[in-house]
């Protein structure tokens, strides 16, 4: 039910809509719930609405942590 996927913005359209893409598949979705969306941004898409932006640096950091963890280094995570 909470299925959501990461998509990239191709084009901003009127009425808070945007054309987004995932590996050659394109769809028009609502970006009314997220501010300052720009082409190139990655969004979390759920039932036709973007819910959040994906932060590329944090994503990279997660992967780095994963790779470290895989090597046995301590996993620090992001204590909040």
């Amino acid at each position: 039910m909470c299925l959501a996927i990461p998509v990239q913005v191709k084009e901003i359209l009127p009425d808070d809509m945007a054309k987004v893409t995932l590996d050659g598949v394109t769809k028009i979705v609502s970006i009314a719930l997220v501010d300052d969306v720009k082409p190139g941004d990655y969004l979390v898409l759920h039932v036709g609405y973007a819910l959040a932006k994906i932060d590329p640096e944090e994503a990279e950091r997660t992967l780095a942590l994963l790779r470290e963890a895989a090597m046995g280094d301590p996993v620090l995570g992001d204590a909040v």
Binding site: M1, I5, L22, V47, L51, A52, D55, T62, A70, A79
Partner: protein, 385 residues
């Protein structure tokens, strides 16, 4: 697929699994509940359990909005849909959820109800605009993830003056459910089930942020790791939980930092707050009445509230008494402990809600994992024979 493929890297997963195995204390067991059905699904679909040491067990929580919708709400929706003027729009997930007496929206549709599956609330609005003579009701269901889209549909219906659109609201709230589990007699008082930590919701958290979990971590002294729905996200979260347990910590950590912040999506939160208010109490299938566990439309939007507009009543309806969904949702039992599992209850003919959505604990186990039990039984059978 960027932000998907890299989180499904099996080699990395094996390495992390090795780290988990190395980190766990062989003398104790670790019970973690993944609250969300999305996590349950990922665990089953990717066979994550095969990678975990025997003393790390995952408990499937109530985090599937389809699974926790009480039978009476389904019955009410069916009764509404059977009215000739009504067009009921719903996400496909709800079509096969069993109501009373073997009913379902799918069967109601076959019996003549005008029920349409939609992909988005936008589609329901479009139908209402295109067919002004129909009373179009959107069967709204979902956690905090799915509520903002409903709020936006309501905003659009008001702005575009669509008088024939209304909402049957069944939106529920995750923190209330987690609290309910932690406060349930099984978990808290009787101690029959031990939960050592939680994997916190992925997409729910994009909206509400990580802050709401602080209370549990503190109050119940349980670690919480918010994690994404990809298998590497989950396994990383498990490793993080193991470390917290080993360290005696009970913090809220965020594995899903690429999409989740502490405060979440305030714009979405505001949209929800504008149109919805808390219900004092709402039944969760399997959990019973959960105080402040659900939303309804604010009174000023009563004309868009299908419950009021059509004087809907939610009949009292009992689950099949043999169904163990309640205990399973609270982590007290496992699917295979239910007598109906795999006999009369399968995803084709679900008896309880956990068998309906592919994110339900029973359905996920049946669809992806039942070979494990069978293998066990078969071995036992052979051993005996």
């Amino acid at each position: 697929m960027k932000y998907i493929d890299e989180y499904r890297d099996g080699r990395l997963a094996k390495d992390i699994a090795r780290q988990i195995a190395a980190a766990v204390d062989p003398a104790r067991s670790y019970h973690f509940m993944e609250f969300c059905g999305g996590h349950t699904h990922a665990i089953s679909r990717y066979g994550l359990e095969d990678l975990l040491p025997a003393n790390v067990r995952m408990i499937h929580g109530p985090g599937c909005p389809v699974c926790v919708l009480p039978i009476g709400r389904i019955d009410a929706a069916i009764a509404l849909a059977m009215r000739p003027e009504i067009t009921l729009c719903t996400y496909g997930d709800l079509m096969r959820v069993p109501g009373s007496n073997g009913s379902s929206l799918l069967k109601a549709k076959a019996a003549g109800a005008d029920i349409r599956m939609v992909y988005s609330t936008l589609d329901a609005l479009k139908i209402a605009e295109a067919e002004p003579n129909r009373e179009v009701v959107f069967f709204a269901i979902g956690f905090e993830t799915t509520t903002p889209p409903t709020a936006l549909a309501l905003r659009a219906a008001i702005a575009r003056q669509i008088p024939n659109f209304s909402i049957f609201c069944n939106h529920v709230l995750t923190p209330a459910a987690i609290q309910n589990i932690l406060e349930s007699p099984d978990v808290r008082k009787l101690g029959t089930i031990k939960i050592d930590g939680f994997i916190g919701p992925a997409h729910v958290s994009t909206v509400i942020g990580t802050q709401p979990y602080e209370f549990f971590a503190e109050e119940f002294q349980k670690p919480v790791v918010v994690a994404g729905f990809e298998p590497l996200d989950v396994i990383q979260a498990i490793l993080m939980l193991v470390h917290q347990v080993n360290d005696g910590r009970h913090e809220v950590e965020n594995q899903y930092i690429r999409a989740v912040t502490a405060l979440g999506n305030e714009k979405a939160q505001n949209e929800v707050a504008r149109f919805f208010e808390l219900r004092e109490s709402f039944e969760w299938r399997g959990l019973g009445e959960v105080p402040y566990g659900a939303l309804r439309l604010r009174p000023e939007y009563a004309q868009y509230d299908a419950e009021k507009r059509f004087s809907m009543v939610t009949p009292a309806a009992k689950d099949n008494p043999a169904c163990e969904c309640g205990a399973i949702l609270r982590g007290v039992k496992k699917p295979a402990d239910c007598k109906l599992f795999g006999t009369v209850c399968t995803p084709d003919t679900p008896m309880g809600s956990c068998m309906v959505s592919s994110e339900g604990a029973c359905a996920a186990h049946w669809t992806y994992g039942r070979f494990r039990e069978k293998a066990r039984t078969q071995d036992e059978g052979r051993a005996v024979a």
